[in-house]
Symmetry: C2
């Protein structure tokens, strides 16, 4: 898996995007999922941006391709991508990022820069310490866990808040 802080370091975006797209194609073929042109295009947009994008930003870019596009177009593709572990929703931002390491549905943790909106995905500590125990205690059945840390990335530190 790529290093968790990759998003915050200089690197070859084009190459990491291409490799993620390829991984997505492989994964879909293996699982008999249809990575249709619309879905692939949305994934590509996310990969190119390499940061969290709102659904309406994605829509704009779809429109730049020449077609009109209404909100459900973006949301359907995003739902597909999120359900299949190819992208993640960032609740805090009402936005979406491509997954750097697509694989079967998986929870992840995120470092979100509140200045530049770049998002780094970090592998998840499975039972999340206390929380798993507290849930078991309460008889609560956890299905999915969102972990989002908000702060400043290295580039945005130093300087005004």
């Amino acid at each position: 898996m790529p290093s968790p802080d990759l998003a915050f370091r200089a690197h070859d975006h084009a190459r990491c995007a291409a490799s993620a797209l390829h991984a997505a194609q492989t994964l879909c073929a293996a699982r008999n999922l249809r990575l249709t042109p619309a879905r692939a295009r949305v994934l590509e947009i996310l990969l190119e941006a390499h940061r969290a994008l709102g659904a309406y930003e994605i829509l704009e870019r779809l429109r730049e391709d020449g077609q009109p596009a209404q909100p459900p177009v973006a949301y359907r593709a995003l739902n597909f991508l999120c359900e299949n572990g190819l992208a993640h929703r960032i609740e805090r931002l009402n936005a979406f990022v491509a997954c750097v390491d697509p694989q079967a549905e998986h929870d992840a943790a995120f470092l979100i820069c509140r200045r530049c909106d770049r998002v780094a995905e970090s592998p998840r500590d499975q039972d999340a310490g206390h929380l798993g125990a507290a849930a078991a205690d309460a008889g609560f059945a956890i299905e999915r866990t969102v972990v989002e840390a908000l702060g400043l990335c290295p580039d945005c530190q130093g300087g005004q808040p």
Copy 2:
């Protein structure tokens, strides 16, 4: 601090609401904050509901008190309550809960029932395992962390999904 699973157990709501409201008053007095009638009323509404409420649900209840009320009224009160640790925003639901143990600004973790929207607050494992380390590694400065587990509470398990 109240047991983390309190929200999922039968208990005397009226009493726990009254005690939380009292704690809030004490805390505001101590910190020289103005718990104005509008703010207190919103907190009371949250405490009575004893689950996550959307801003517009809160608005409805404010209107039931007889006054008209526009969205900024609710949002201002909610901002005040969240900033001062008297309530928490649940990102996943775009909703708010009263804090069961008001105190200086603090992060918490939540167990959210996706059927009945009840929310239990659990004390937070401070550095959240891997994440703190990954952040340090990346040079990322964490300011606030959101941890939300989605699932089914004891009462909503068994039966349809």
